[in-house]
Symmetry: C2
């Protein structure tokens, strides 16, 4: 197909496609004339991926390039693959750093992870501690107890994540990197839906307990 | 304290503080001279909050203003409060919209939520369907089965969220809005840590099953 058809199929403007091609985010098409090229289904897929990484996942171009690099050259070992995939993701997520001072969170996180029996990558543990510290400094309450409850729920999320990883290497990398990045917003939405559900349940129970005589009026 | 001390306490540059003051994100200090004002602990807290909302949660100034608006004028009813808090958050999170065509996701999401017995706000359901559609179009596999597993895990997250909501209204709004926005990154990190934990567990089990004789060498 010509570039105009590629644009129609993906919903991405021709000018943006030309930019992706110039930047090497999408491989060149098969030349058909001096100024024309033909694109195939692989191009449609890659364009959709780049678009999703920049728009849905909100990655900068440099980070899109890292993610595509892992996708195009997947490591052979499954665990190394997960590590590389996570490294590519982590580049996209800078940790906010607050001013200095007493910070009990690295020790708290280490103790909590030990209690869970989790053997955690030091970079991820440091990131987690910094995020919890920043949230607490901004006035969020209940984090000391709350975060290990979240950790246990996250294990169920991760089990569902890994259940959907296909057997082939390229598919596996794609699923871990792209799947995780693109479904972080899905999980954020589900959290808000579940908050309302839990709050409505609680309100319903309270109402039934306290004012059963008001139900008929 | 003077603005220079406020800057030191919060780690936010004086120029940025002046910008927050000009934009009304932080209330003015108590005037002490023609060009000077005194700031207190409340200012420290508000500056940290604005900084966290823009940096950690990545909100635009217009959305920070919406969130602060809910914080400063909390609705009286607890459920209305949660709704207003979520509305303020949702403004910050635009849904990517792909090109048209067959979209099975609104029906799938409706059926899945009905099976869970969840009574979901239509805006949140539409957002969820769009996010799942976009992720699938970008090549993420296993979403049809995966998302309801995530929903069940999200209920545990929400239970932990609501357990930490304090009794007073201002505290409750702050906890729901700020707590959720600022701890979305915490949950994203925990997801990655848990993925590695689950994968390492699986690899350990496979190794023990397949090559017990290699363990000694």
């Amino acid at each position: 197909m010509r570039i105009s058809a590629l644009s129609e199929r993906t919903g991405v403007p021709v000018a943006t496609l030309k930019y992706y091609l110039r930047e090497g985010l999408v491989p060149p098409g098969r030349p058909t004339a001096a100024t024309q090229a033909a694109y195939d289904a692989g191009h449609v897929e890659r364009v959709r991926l780049v678009r999703a990484l920049t728009q849905t996942a909100g990655l900068a171009l440099a980070d899109v390039r890292r993610v595509l690099g892992v996708l195009d050259n997947p490591p052979a070992d499954r665990l190394a693959l997960l590590g590389a995939a996570q490294e590519a993701m982590l580049g996209a997520e800078a940790t906010a750093s607050g001013p200095g001072g007493e910070d009990p969170w690295p020790a708290r996180v280490a103790a909590g992870l030990a209690e869970l029996g989790w053997d955690c990558d030091p970079t991820l543990a440091a990131r987690l501690a910094a995020q919890l510290r920043d949230a607490q400094r901004a006035g969020v309450a209940g984090l000391e107890d709350g975060w290990t409850a979240w950790a246990r729920a996250s294990r169920d999320v991760a089990l569902a994540d890994l259940a959907s990883v296909p057997g082939d290497e390229e598919g596996a990398v794609r699923q871990v990197v792209v799947g995780t990045l693109l479904t972080d917003p899905v999980l954020a939405t589900l959290r808000r839906i579940a908050q309302r559900e839990v709050a409505t349940d609680a309100a319903g129970v309270r109402e039934a307990d306290v004012t059963p005589e008001d139900a008929s009026g």
